[in-house]
Amino acid sequence: MSLVVTKIQKNFKQRDVLNGVDLIVDKKEIHALVGVSGSGKSTLLRIIAGLETADTGTVTWDGEPLLGTPPHKRRITMLSQSPLLFPHLSVGENVTLATQNRSREQAEAWLDRVRLPGRYDDDIHELSGGEQQRVSFARALAAEPRLILLDEPFTNLDPDLKYELQRLIRDLVQQLELTALLVTHDREEAMLVADRVTLLEDGEVLATGTPGELYETEPAFGDFIELSGSSYPATMMEVTEEAGEPVVLVRQLNRFGNRLGEYRLATGTYVILPRDESFQVGETYYLRKKKGVV
């Protein structure tokens, strides 16, 4: 256990934004907090970061209370919707600023990791929105946080850039064995990026679990089918018809081309997530039933 949030209550303009929220984020996991806008998820994130105060409740890291600590001493960094790179600094200076000993070498290494090598001296307006968000992520990592908060960081991006950044963030957080808390309104995004998911509604926790568990217990969570444990070089999908019903066969292939799994799905149109075609060994993928199409 690392981040423990207990009974957080927040009232804003006579309205409960958070109504006794409990949340546990384990070390080295990516935890997603999912809810519609107004569910209080961003407020909770800002309370954890120290940017807002809670009326009652506690937030601890390894038992150490955080709520009295100012944000710049919590070792919690944040990536938000907008990259918010400081405009008077160059791309690299933005990252250097966050490193412990103001090291250009370290900043350059971070830029390499987010696949922006050699862009240290560029002005930030020379970068695209997706690139700026990658720099912002590098900057958040460079501060060597114990927890990184992701506040809908993919919202303003085009679909392609979005999937690219989702994968980048997931890979780096796992590689560096970091802990991350992602806030999103997009369930699909939570399925793709997170190890565990907490559903928040009207300032209260509805359910917590792995995406698979939530699929079992929460009908509202969505029509997902989990394809997990693939340790094989490719996954293939095939749609056939059996007795007049469409059946989707998902084959996980080993190098001999054997069929290892078969999923029979109900009638409907399915999309495979991510839309990115580069399937990787050991990844978990989901099929999602498209709503409204029969």
Partner: protein, 258 residues
């Protein structure tokens, strides 16, 4: 409708420039070194620089600090209170300060006692200009994206660094604007120092106006020359300061997220 008003505005706005051109014409044959030889002008220059820079700096500091306080702590009472001096013309403000500081109660002739320091002139300007700076900076802080400050906090920067990266860059331009507006306004004015200032050394504006209007404009060229030189000095100062910061300001303008 708007094109007609632009035309009229342009004509009106060209007038001061035309005025400066005429000043240059009038002083074409003026012997400039005579200004420097005159002890009154030299003393006036020194005291003008002192009064102008002190009043401007204090006003900028207090005004910015108050705007910041209002935005961050949402102190609405403060913005209402700071409106009050804006209803008072400089002349009226100066006279009120004169009444308070020249007689007995409550300050027992602080004007006379501290005349060498132009204490009351500076106080009057600070009282009048703080709300002006406050208003300029309140707008700036209103447009400032709070996300930058939040970001600086979560990047584990110290409070000073937070200010340096997330506030200061955005204050640069409005502070520069306010600085030169105040300098131009305070350094060459008659109204306030004429009421509150001392007879020697006088501020440039007072001396220039008095030399101009005494003796049937016989010494007019001298005052014209001072007005022209002073305007040029301020223009060069402003130009240089904008030039030096141009690259930085452009960078900020292009990269900023509202």
């Amino acid at each position: 409708m708007s094109r007609g008003s632009v035309g009229l505005s342009v004509i009106v706005l060209l007038l001061p420039l035309a005025g400066l051109a005429f000043l240059a014409g009038e002083t074409a044959s003026f012997e400039w070194t005579s200004l420097w030889r005159d002890a009154a002008w030299r003393a006036s220059l020194a005291v003008t620089l002192y009064v102008t820079l002190v009043s401007t700096t204090i006003s900028l500091l207090i005004g910015t600090w108050l705007a910041r306080t209002v935005r961050i702590r949402e102190a609405v009472w403060l913005s209402a209170l700071l409106k009050l001096p804006m209803f008072v013309p400089h002349v009226a403000g100066a006279y009120l300060f004169l009444l308070l500081f020249s007689g007995g109660f409550p300050f027992y002739g602080l004007v006379e006692a501290n005349e060498r320091h132009h204490f009351v002139v500076i106080l009057t300007y600070v009282w009048k200009e703080v709300p002006f700076v406050f208003l300029m900076m309140l707008g700036t802080y209103g447009q400032l994206n709070r996300g930058y400050l939040d970001m600086a906090k979560t990047l584990q920067l110290t409070r000073f660094e937070q200010f340096k990266v997330a506030e200061w860059p955005f204050l640069l331009k409005p502070l520069l604007d306010s600085f030169w507006i105040l300098v131009a306004f305070i350094s060459f004015a008659y109204e306030v120092p004429a009421l509150l200032g001392v007879t020697f050394p006088e501020l440039l504006g007072v001396l220039a106006y008095e030399r101009l209007t005494t003796g049937l404009f016989l010494n007019a060229n001298e005052s014209y020359a001072v007005a022209l030189v002073w305007t040029l000095l301020i223009s060069v100062g402003a130009f240089v300061s904008y030039l030096v910061t141009a690259k930085r300001r452009r960078r900020i303008e292009k990269g900023v997220r509202r």
